[in-house]
Subunit: 183 residues, 2 copies
């Protein structure tokens, strides 16, 4: 992975990609699967919706950081396995043969097989609605990976990959955020 | 469109589909395009991120309701046109030849060409982060529409349709929410 322009970081999230969220509690790395995520602005701030049924949740509140990793469609089996197991029972990176690497700012690891990773700090927790608000600090990209399609969860146990592509930049004109072009 | 089970309403949103959000300010219907949206639970509560640059925003705060409509990929041109024009300049339904219909609970109209429509009431506004929290009240489905692919915005003026499909219900087991099966 190489560092990328933060101006286009939000474009890895806006389509509603399923995410792998990594944490480090001071002793151990952990990773969870999240599909409830939303872009808030172009900084970017990213919101995720989760709660105390996820072990990583308390670690995020304690350490105030995580890495938001965007897996590709060829990683779907691992993404489901990660989402249906608990970090208290095993080391998920080991059990699911998921390579990891040191981040630059955060203690939480990168997942270098992913299409992109955003090192984030926690800015707020909207407790009433279970929403964590992150600010993206540093973008990592994997532009050379052959599989570039991300995963979309339907929530009923089925998934889609990115399919037909359309470039509407001409039609959108001034509405395309400057520096965002990626695809 | 026909009424559908509210238990599967969240599945129309979880993949990160671009939405058309309809409102009625007491005098006039309006519609805006939103891709910053997130599921919060299976009720469902749905969050969207917006602000006062959208005319519909003030109407939602005033009337405390809207319809969240899920357009299909064949509607992409209209979705972009709606997203790049202002309701103050024109009647968007008329200008873009967008059929509408009466909702059952809400004053805001349905868009019957969409794959699904969720009649929602506003439950909260998290001002600090520009997040509107909706509770879904009634689901409309368009199960007979030939085009079932939804739209995913990358945020840089490019879009994807749903592509390759994978059913992982067996692998997910108990983690598939009861009554959610749609695809």
């Amino acid at each position: 992975m190489q560092e990328g322009r933060i101006e286009r970081a939000f474009t890895y999230f806006e389509s509603g990609a399923v995410l792998l969220v990594t944490t480090n509690d001071g002793t151990k790395d952990n990773v969870m699967t999240i599909s409830w995520q939303m872009v808030l602005d172009f900084v970017p701030h990213i919101a995720i919706s989760t709660g105390d049924w996820n072990e990583s949740f308390q670690t995020i509140l304690d350490k105030k950081e995580c890495c938001l990793c965007v897996p590709t469609f060829d990683m779907l089996e691992k993404v489901v396995q990660i989402g249906t197991s608990h970090g208290s029972e095993c080391d998920k990176f080991e059990r699911f043969s998921l390579p990891k690497a040191k981040a630059k700012i955060n203690k939480a690891p990168l997942i270098p097989d992913c299409l992109a990773v955003l090192e984030c700090k926690l800015e707020d927790y909207v407790e009433e609605h279970g929403i964590l608000i992150f600010k993206g600090l540093l973008l990592w990209e994997n532009t050379k990976k052959k599989e570039q399609r991300v995963i979309h969860a339907n929530g009923d146990g089925t998934f889609f990959a990115d399919g037909e592509f359309r470039n509407m930049r001409k039609e959108m004109g001034q509405w395309v955020p400057k520096g965002s072009e990626r695809l």
